[in-house]
Amino acid sequence: MNHSNSPIEARPILSVRGVTVQFGGIKALNGVTFDMQRGQVLGLIGPNGAGKTTLFNCLSRLYQPSDGDILLEGESILARKPAGIAKMGIGRTFQNVALFPTLSVRDNIRIGGHCRSRGDLVSDALRLPWVLREERELDRKIDEIVDDLDLGGVADREVAGLPFGTQKRVELGRALAAKPKVLLLDEPAGGLNHEEVYVLGDLICRIRDAYNLTVLLVEHHMGLVMKIADHVVALNFGSKLAEGTPAAVRSDPAVIKAYLGSEAA
């Protein structure tokens, strides 16, 4: 599953450069630097509290780094408002599923299309013809996503009552509806059983290809990371510990030590 990068694609799609985040006394991230190449699945690993979610929150502009920069296709995202990030092409899922609980599966995914549509207050209230066309187009796209993620059976159900694994797929579908270039998945295997994790791995690779994505995957489940990641970055206490192919990072003594300190990898 390795990618041979042609010279044209040599420029990284996402560059994390010396990103530092501090919470009071703790440095949750300390000068973290790495690049993501187009089409990659990059696995971000590290023990609990290593700073993985904090990095995600910087990438979706929920946290402001005190130092460093994040470039998407060469352009800094830190100058953008949080609401502008989705439109730039960064989509995400959340470690503890963050859906719109009272809305249907379909409406949750529809909201994912927010940044790719234009309906404004007045045109929406009057349901102008172009709004109707846009809604129909959106619905077609939603149907595709619902099919791809096998959500057809629950599409009109309220998400609050759905099993956790299904909710995670809804969240993934919602992120896809925003047509991201880079998709951030925060522990997608968390709470899934062995078989579900296996299916998830295939699903991530399939949507990566079908939707032309670059995926940043935070995962505790080493088996999954080793199976689908092209490249791995290991964090510990907010600093980058190692970077390289899955096999290389896995056998890195510093990584083994960090994991033995908390849990067996």
């Binding site: 949080p82 609401a83 989705a86 719109f100 009272t102 809305l103 927010h114 309906g119 009057l126 925003a178």
Partner: protein, 332 residues
């Protein structure tokens, strides 16, 4: 988090997804009923039913704010007052046709609500309720200001002329105003229903359900919260303008915070987030106080309180609970 906030939060969270708020048949029957109501009843009854429609618009507007965007307001009487004064001043001071005052009231109240929504962005739950309450308490003083008196008529208020039915229609003034109000109410209902199933409405629902997720999907939280305030204020302002025309009088004390409370009660009784419930809520706040007075003149307040308590106790989700109950038992 206070108990009040929790309870209100639950009421809002309980709003469930519905493709269409009411089946088409039910809607047609309701509309037909509304069309024939003024036939063969006294002008006073027609006036009362017109008032119901006006309150229904105001409750609908609050429903858009609370039901869709999850923000509370006890300040709706202020927007209502601005709409009412806009209509009265335009008609009586500047001689503008009554029908033209409605869009003007809508636009002015939209701006007012939008601007009020900006500072309110920093507040949520009970704190927002308190800030809007402060607005409602302050508002009745404004028209009394000496500088505004030439327009507002100060404490005495303004008397508004009652419009005649146009095109020589064989309708009494009251019946005409009823149909005029009904048309406006239908249009506003249509606009609200359109909004709720549009990109804008979904963005508001997203903000209500999960701000962080909404933001990560590109929903501008401040924009949609203030738009919800503006839109709600605009429709409330139109209701206020209609109120001025129908009651033929505006005065500062017609718009105390009790009006806000009445609108709030109407929304709860109808069912938060269920648009058709607005009409039920309006019927409740117009007729139940009369009913209470009929039962006991001296204790009408207490009787009203007991009835309200009983209704909320039996139907915590308001009239929508009855609608749901019926819908479940209807053959598909």
């Amino acid at each position: 988090m206070s108990a009040i906030e929790e309870t209100l939060g639950q009421t809002v969270a309980a709003v469930e997804v519905r493709k269409s708020s009411m089946p088409t048949v039910a809607r047609l029957v309701l509309l037909l009923g509304l069309l024939v109501i003024p036939l063969g009843v006294s002008d006073f009854v027609v006036f009362q039913v017109t008032t119901v429609l006006i309150y229904a618009i105001a409750i609908l507007a609050l429903n858009l704010l609370t039901g869709a965007s999850g923000q509370f307001s006890l300040g709706q009487s202020a927007f209502y007052a601005v709409g009412a004064y806009t209509a009265a001043i335009m008609m009586e001071v500047y001689g503008v046709n009554y029908a033209l005052t409605l869009p003007a009231a809508g636009v002015i109240c939209f701006l007012f609500g939008f601007l009020f929504g900006l500072p309110a962005l920093r507040l949520s739950g009970v704190y927002l309720a308190l800030a809007t309450f402060a607005l409602a308490v302050a508002m009745p003083q404004i028209p009394k200001l000496a500088v505004l008196e030439p327009w507002t008529g100060g404490v005495h208020g303004l008397v508004v002329n009652k419009p005649e039915a146009p095109f020589d229609l064989p309708l009494s003034q009251d019946a005409w105003l009823y149909y005029f109000t009904l048309s406006v109410a239908v249009v506003i209902y249509w606009l609200c229903a359109n909004l709720l199933r549009s990109r804008t409405g979904r963005a508001m629902l997203a903000v209500r359900d999960n701000e962080i997720a909404a933001s990560a999907l590109g929903v501008d939280l401040s924009l949609y919260k203030t738009l919800a305030f503006g839109t709600s204020a605009a429709f409330t302002g139109v209701a206020g303008a209609l109120g001025a025309i129908v009651v033929q009088f505006v005065a500062p004390d017609s718009f105390t915070f009790q009006l806000s409370i009445a609108i709030f009660v109407g929304m709860i009784v109808g069912g938060v987030g269920w648009l058709p419930g607005s009409l039920v809520g309006a019927v409740f706040i117009v007729f139940v106080p009369n009913l209470a007075e009929g039962i006991s003149k001296g204790l009408s307040g207490a009787v009203f309180g007991v009835i309200l308590f009983a209704v909320i106790f039996a139907l915590p989700h308001g009239a929508r609970q009855i609608a749901d109950w019926i819908a479940k038992r209807l053959p598909r």
